[in-house]
Every structure is written in structure tokens, then in C-alpha cells.
């Protein structure tokens, strides 16, 4: 079967997280040719790692399964271990340079087709492995690009006063998701890293690195909801033993997530302290983390010992603004802005803005539509 890798009527989707998968599926379902490239070994992005820790917020796992099931349909090709490193061209005629990591990329979605781009007639001559790294390069054409490279967590170690990396029981929300995962290293038990004891007094420190001139200026939107969900997980897991505290400035959950907030807020095992934590130290005797600060409501100064401290770290763009494969108009934090100057490159999901899964899906659908409009025009086929 001689399949062309891509033509100018192809929609290239970069990134195989929930946003990229959604955009690819939606565009394919509307009849477009789609090529989805994911730099990792598998699809799913962060959602596949976080889903088990966040059952009620949105059932990401279910969404993902649904999506994967739909992957078989339509004219959709997927290459994993394929990282887009460069894009040239203009709307209707882009060429993307793709770095293929060894081993040979796997193609999902259409079992009868070989995933090896060498097998296709117009495979790029560059697709010769680099003798040292085994990497190969590939060029693909596309009429429009959906840029869905997602987010990465802000490096908690940069928040110097919080001691991440120095104090073992100070972890990030992503570390916590691993701890809480029944299939994770602790089998879902909240064992603190320092001594393996079960954590009972758990603190969540919100806005860790967000809304902060010294770190990320923006509010990362999802971390309040994620922290509430994780707090609920602790109480559900430990029962009456649980002693949870949330340190926050504003709880930012909108819509009916207010119900989640109300539920956690009314739980007597969970305390809410309106305060940005000033500093975290390590107790000299027990080694436990100690949180220092002042409660802005009530004015009490605290120095409270916890077994485990979870930093609700913020989101920054997965591919920073200065590392984008071509010049794009971005917002201050490097998220790709919707701007006509970006031509037919449409950002989807967290590459564009910190969003939760349902908003990512909504957002990616639009990117698919815009890309579709471009390739329709290019194809010149009557609509």
C-alpha cells in the first residue's frame, strides 16, 4: 500500500496529549487527512499519568479510553517517538522537520500500515539514522498545523524557600499523584519519601510558583481544583486519621466545581488557611517539614509541622516560547496566542493556555476546525 506520508492537504497535529488526540480525531472525523506526531513513546500526555489521582474532577481516564477507541477510525496516522523540531513554510504549505527517536516509530491506529516512514515512496532522504544516536530525521508536508505540545510543571526547586529537593517530604502535586496512584510505586499508600511512614498530616501549598512575579506571573487555573481533589483523596484514603491543611490565597474553581470546594471545605478533617506560605524548614528532631507563615484572616502566625507537604506547582508551556520550531506570537508566559500572524498554525489545549481537560477538549476541537478550513481551501474541493 503506497501511502503518502503527508501532502499540503494533511493536517499535522503536533503532540499526542488529550488536546492533540482530540484535534486529530475531530479533524479526521470531519474527513481530513491527519498525521499526529508524539515525541514520547505513547499517547496520552499528562492525563494518562494524572487520571487515577483525580477521579471526580473529570474522569480523564474514561475520556482517554474513549478517545483511544476512536483512534482506529478514519484517515488518521500516528507516529510516536517523533518530535517536531522545525517548521517552515506558510499557510497551506508547511514542511515540518521531525526527529525520530530510536527504536523505529510505532504506528497506532491502522494496523495494516507499516509505521516505518521509509516504506513510503516520498520518505525523506534525511531519514537515514544518525550513526551515533540512531536518530533519524523526516520531513513532512502539511497544509495546517495543530500545535498541541501541552505543558510542563514549573520546576519546584526554583521556589527556594520551599525546600523542594532539600527536604524529602516536600513533594510536588505530580509527585503526589504518583504516590496516590494504586498502580504507582507505593501501591497508592501515602508513604512519605523520607522514612516510608504513612503520612497523616498532609499540607497543600497552593500557588507554588504561580501568580508570582519571581516565578510564573499567571494563575495556572487547574491547581486549585487538583489540590482540592487531592485533599479529598487523602481524607477518603485515611478516614478519621486524616489531618489535612490547605494554604491558599484564593480558591479558584469555577462553575459546578464549587460543589467540590464546598464538600472539601465542610470536611472537619480539612483546614483552610488563607496564607501564602512564607517558608518551609525541616524540623531538627523529626525531620518533618515545618510550614511558616501568617494567616491573613485572623492574623495568627504559624509554624506547623506536617508529615507531607504537597506543592501545587504551576503550568508552563511544554515547549517554551523561545524554543518553538518557528516564530509564533505568544502571550507573556510563552503560551501560543491566537493571532492571525501565526498563519495556519493553531495552538490547542495547554500549549495555548493553562486549561483543564474538558476545556482542552473544547479548545482542541476549534483548532481542528480552523485547520480543516485551511486544508479545505488548499484542496480546493467544494465544501
Amino acid at each position: 500500500m503506497s501511502e503518502v506520508v503527508a501532502t499540503t492537504r494533511t493536517i499535522l497535529v503536533v503532540g499526542g496529549g488529550i488536546s492533540g488526540m482530540t484535534a486529530a480525531l475531530e479533524a479526521a472525523e470531519a474527513g481530513a487527512d491527519v498525521l499526529l506526531l508524539e515525541k514520547g513513546a505513547s499517547l496520552g500526555g499528562w492525563v494518562s499519568q494524572l487520571s487515577r489521582g483525580h477521579p471526580t474532577l473529570c474522569p480523564p481516564a474514561r475520556t482517554l479510553e474513549d478517545e483511544l477507541r476512536r483512534l482506529g477510525a478514519g484517515r488518521l496516522r500516528v507516529l510516536t517517538r517523533a518530535e517536531v523540531v522545525r517548521i517552515d513554510g506558510q499557510p497551506g504549505d508547511y514542511t515540518a522537520t521531525v526527529r525520530l527517536a530510536p527504536p523505529a516509530p510505532r504506528e497506532v491506529g491502522n494496523a495494516d500500515r507499516s509505521g516505518d516512514p521509509d516504506a513510503s515512496p516520498d520518505a525523506d532522504p534525511d531519514a537515514v539514522p544518525n550513526p551515533d544516536t540512531g536518530e533519524r530525521k523526516l520531513r513532512v508536508k502539511a497544509g495546517a498545523v495543530v500545535w498541541a505540545t501541552g505543558w510542563r510543571p514549573y520546576d519546584a526547586a526554583k521556589i527556594e524557600p520551599y525546600g523542594y529537593g532539600r527536604i524529602p517530604d516536600v513533594v510536588s502535586s505530580l509527585d503526589f499523584a504518583r504516590l496516590a496512584d494504586p498502580l504507582g510505586p507505593t501501591g497508592g499508600r501515602l508513604l512519605r519519601p523520607s522514612d516510608g511512614r504513612e503520612a497523616r498530616r498532609v499540607a497543600f501549598v497552593l500557588c507554588a510558583g504561580s501568580r508570582d512575579k519571581n516565578h510564573l506571573r499567571h494563575c495556572s487555573r487547574v491547581c486549585c481544583a487538583a489540590a482540592l481533589e487531592q485533599a479529598a483523596h487523602v481524607t477518603g484514603h485515611l478516614g478519621d486519621e486524616a489531618d489535612v491543611t490547605l494554604y491558599y490565597v484564593d480558591i479558584r474553581v469555577t462553575g459546578s466545581l464549587e460543589d467540590l470546594y464546598r464538600k472539601v471545605r465542610s470536611d472537619p478533617r480539612v483546614k483552610f488557611v488563607r496564607s501564602k506560605v512564607a517558608q518551609i524548614t525541616r524540623d531538627a528532631h523529626t525531620g518533618s517539614p515545618v510550614l511558616h507563615g501568617v494567616a491573613t484572616e485572623g492574623g495568627q502566625r504559624y509554624a506547623r509541622v506536617h508529615d507531607l507537604v504537597v506543592l501545587a506547582v504551576g503550568m508552563e508551556p511544554g515547549v517554551p516560547g523561545d524554543a518553538l520550531p518557528l516564530r509564533l506570537v505568544t502571550h507573556a508566559g510563552g503560551f501560543v496566542a491566537p493571532d492571525p500572524a501565526n498563519g495556519a498554525i493553531f495552538a490547542a489545549g495547554c500549549a495555548a493556555e493553562p486549561l483543564d481537560v474538558s476545556r482542552c477538549v473544547q479548545h482542541a476541537t476549534v483548532a481542528a476546525l480552523r485547520a480543516l478550513q485551511v486544508v479545505r481551501r488548499v484542496g480546493g474541493v467544494e465544501g
Binding site: 475531530e26 472525523e29 470531519a30 474527513g31 481530513a32 484517515r75 501568580r211 506571573r217 499567571h218 494563575c219 495556572s220 487555573r221 484564593d250 480558591i251 479558584r252 474553581v253 469555577t254 462553575g255 459546578s256 466545581l257 464549587e258 460543589d259 464546598r262 488563607r274 491573613t296 484572616e297 485572623g298 492574623g299 505568544t330 502571550h331 507573556a332 508566559g333 503560551f335 496566542a337 493571532d339 495555548a352 493556555e353 493553562p354 486549561l355 476545556r359 473544547q362 479548545h363 476541537t365 476549534v366 481542528a368 476546525l369 480552523r370 480543516l372 478550513q373 479545505r376 484542496g379 474541493v381 467544494e382 465544501g383
Partner: protein, 380 residues
Amino acid sequence: MVGDGPGDRAADGPEAGPERANAPPTPRREGGLSRRILVVGGGVAGMTAALEAAKAGYPVTLVEQGPQLGGALAGLWKRAAVRSPFRHPVDTGVEALAEAVSTHPGVRVHRSAGVVRVAGAPGRFTVVLAEGNGARVAGQVGAIVLASGFRPYDARRLPELGYGESPDVVTQLELETLAKKASGGPIRRPSDDAEARRVVFVQCAGQRSRTQGHLPYCSGHCCLASVKQAMYFKDRDPGIETLVLHDDLRTPGVGGEDFYRSAQEKGVTFVRARVDGVVLSPGPGGPVVSFPDQVLGENVSVEADLVVLATGMVPVSGTDSPLPWLPREARPTGIFAAGAVRRPMDSSEAAEDGAGAALKAIQAVEKAALGRSGPSPFRS
């Protein structure tokens, strides 16, 4: 299809009738299938759905019950910043959008009209529209986008916040009307038309509350709206005092925090407080807002020229569905809700949702075509 009223002009229905000369996508009616997309509601969600579907090459019929396109956005003076550096309120863009929709050759707009009947399945819905003049129009469409939006929460349920007690206690939407009237000049309070120089914003009015008759949820957009509205005053005259009383200030996302900071730079004062009540002042002054300052731990009251209540959005769906006659079972196939009818959202999200619904509608049409008449032309 058969119409059901004396004014029926079946031949002029959404699908039938002379297509405009340069309408690019000539609707095909293979096996009686329609590729036309019906959009109900001409707010930002509906207009965007219509325009995007038309741009992708599908014929569209847009039905708006009011005399104008625009929905709630048309009632706003400005909207919150949508791009870096997220500093100032910007034009709503609603006129340009309405113009683009009205002039697009692929979109047919019916104003002062409603949908009175829907039946059928994707690819072959039969619909009947009622025009303002009483005429009925029947025709066929392939898919439907329902973008009937929201209605503002009824602030008369908030006498404890002074609404209805004092004319100078208004909702955010009413403030937009005052600001539009002022058109960049001084914003005047309703009671005596004097310029409002001390303005207090009360967040979460009747929202995030378990009290009977209040909204249990957070409408999500009203913190940003108050930040924006406070700027209406400050941008005109920095000497006007604006006080935003909030519990959690919810301005999430890529630009919200910048917009909030910008308001602070402009001198808007933010105070953490859940307002206890708003009462009429015994003397000649304006309404008095009382609240505990959560930081200072004191009960205080301030007098204002104008009090603005951040009341919420109630989706026009559910019990008071605009289309109670809509066959429920048709919903999952071929009928897609978009915009504030689904849940409270700001206009950027409503536009995004409208565009998404357009794609869903396109897919429904394409799938119907596949099932009935072989592969779609896009797959050639």
C-alpha cells in the same frame, strides 16, 4: 415536508429557496439529505458557529429571536482584555462579528424569528421557523446548533443587598447599560443622574450560596467583569473611587492575573470581604454597604454612590428550555448545544464553544452523508 400554519411557505424553508448567487457550497440533496446547519440563537456562540460552519463550506441558517444579532455581548460597553499585555478593556467585537455573519453569502439570518418545530434525524431534520410577521417557514437541515445563551439571574431575589430598595444598586449587566449610555463620559447613577464617584462592587451576589433561591455555582466570569467595570471608572477619572469586595477573586488563566494587576495599578481597591448587606442610608447619602474586612477582622460600612452586584448567569435550558418541544432523543445525534446555554462562560469561551459545535455539526452532516450516499467528497 409539511408546514403547520397558514403562513407556511414551505418552498422558502431553510433548505429550499434560491441560494444566493455566490454561495460556495451548493447544498446537495442526495437522497433527501441536507448539509445545511441550523443555528438557534444569534449571540456570540451562535454567530461564531454560523460563521465557522459557513467558512468550512456549509450552508447555514441562523435564527435569532430578537431584532438584532449579538446576544448579551451586544449589551456590553467593552469586554475584558483578551491578549497580552491584558491591561485594558477592549471593544467587544460584536458588531464586526454580526456584520461578518450577515454578509457571508453562506449564512441566512432570520431575525425576530423562532423555531417552532423540529423533527427527524441528522442529515434530514425538518424544521419550522416562525418569522416575526407570523409567517411560517419550513425546510430541511442536516444538523442543529443550539446556542440560546443565558438569562441574567433575577436580582430582585436579593433585597438584602439592596436591589429594588435603592435605584443605585444595580447588576453588572445594568452597569454595562449605564456605561454604554455614558459612552466614555461620566457614568451616572440612576437615582439622580449625578456622576458616580464612589462605586462598590459586591462579588458573588446570590452566587456560590446554598441559600434557597441563590445559585449554588460560580459563574466564573463575574470577577473579571468587575475588574473590567472598575476600570471603566478609573480609566475615565483616576479620582473616582472603586472598591471591589470579594472573597476569592477568581481571575484564572493566561491573562486574568495581569488584568487584575493592571486594575490595581489603576488604583482599583480590592478588599477581601463577604458582604453582609446593603441598606439605604437614613440621610441624603447613597446606599451603605456593610461587611467584615476579613484581614482587619472588623465590621465596617461604606457609603457609595453606586453599588454593583455581581449576579450570575442562568443558562436558558433545563426546566425553562427555549425549545421544550425539542425531541429529547434527537439531542445526542445531530443537535449540539454551544455557549452559555451549556454553563456560564465568558465570550471567548462561548465563541470557542460555538466553533466547536460547528465542527460537531459538520461531522454529523458528513456521517449522515456517508451512511446514505457513500463517501464524502472530502475523502477523495
